[in-house]
Subunit: 189 residues, 2 copies
Amino acid sequence: MYSQLSKYITNRIAISDDQLSVVLSYFKPLVAKKKELISSEGNSARRMYFVAKGCLRIYFVKPDGAEVTRRFAFENRFSTSLVSFISGELLTENTQAIEDCELLYISRNDFYYLLEVVPVWEKFYRSYLEEAYVNNTNRLQSFITLDATERYKLLLQENPQIVLRLSNKLVANYLNISQEALSRLKSKA
Amino acid sequence: MYSQLSKYITNRIAISDDQLSVVLSYFKPLVAKKKELISSEGNSARRMYFVAKGCLRIYFVKPDGAEVTRRFAFENRFSTSLVSFISGELLTENTQAIEDCELLYISRNDFYYLLEVVPVWEKFYRSYLEEAYVNNTNRLQSFITLDATERYKLLLQENPQIVLRLSNKLVANYLNISQEALSRLKSKA
DNA sequence: CGAGGCCTTGACCGCGGTCAATGCCCGTGG
DNA sequence: CCACGGGCATTGACCGCGGTCAAGGCCTCG
């Protein structure tokens, strides 16, 4: 697990072995069963997760109770309810294991502490934020410019893993269309 | 102009006078007339703009030629085509003055140079990225969860300046609805 | 004063949502 | 090992939001 995380970090920034082991020492392992809710709205336990195995789903809940998926995180991805992580306020999004998972997590406090004591960690966070921003913008753009069929085709191209590995229900939810609509557009194409 | 920018920066990070003047020295003034295109798609001149006076509009162009506004930046705001700024690739978005503007800009190269030589500048960029991410996420969320009327009401609440100061056409474009639809929902509410 | 852009209103329509019925698959317990 | 139940997928019927097209009035600017 820790070697996967090391690789992830060293792929992104130049960091000395000493600094790397300081960073790693703040990550703790966590195992979660399928369907388990790892952190939920209104909870103040903000953490950043590294997925060593399995898949996480980040979603928020609409006033009417409906859930909307913002993101899936498969193996070798970081993931967090980033808006709450940034603001330090209560969680606005839930994180759920949708497969049996092996995770490493770091608390928000420890993460921000590392920003102070390991200068190069700031660069890591920068690249994380930049990537999150670009992903978000692309997703926003796809909702603004594409209809349901085009969004589905784009997802197949750019992230086939989501379509192949997850249930139609989850895929439809991620595309923000109904299960029925996804079923129909699949049968046409 | 430079004092506005100083205030903006010192409001966000603790920075010594010396470092501040280094930072300021990389910003250059620019005046733009209403409707002027300041930087456009396919252009590689990536800059970050500080709006001292007037209003900028950042938009991208759909394959069919339609324009979609991602963001307006009024006085005392930073603004850039951030995805291109991050990636260093060609611009994917255009920036246009929609009023007569007084701007300060810094080139992408100089900006990244500052990240190396003025360590505290990294914190400034961090806070900028965090804010951009949160804004983007809220906007994405509003498209996913709200219909046209609700999006309009939310905009009135959170950013009345946009509605009051800009033409219906621009507002409708920002909300990603047709001018006609905006006209109708205004007359009902 | 004319032309072009913006705003409004009406008519029409298509995408995708909801509701409902049915079928399928799979996990669980008897 | 089979029977049952619950969740997921598919299909049909229906409908409403918001888009497009078109026409008319108004304001602005050259």
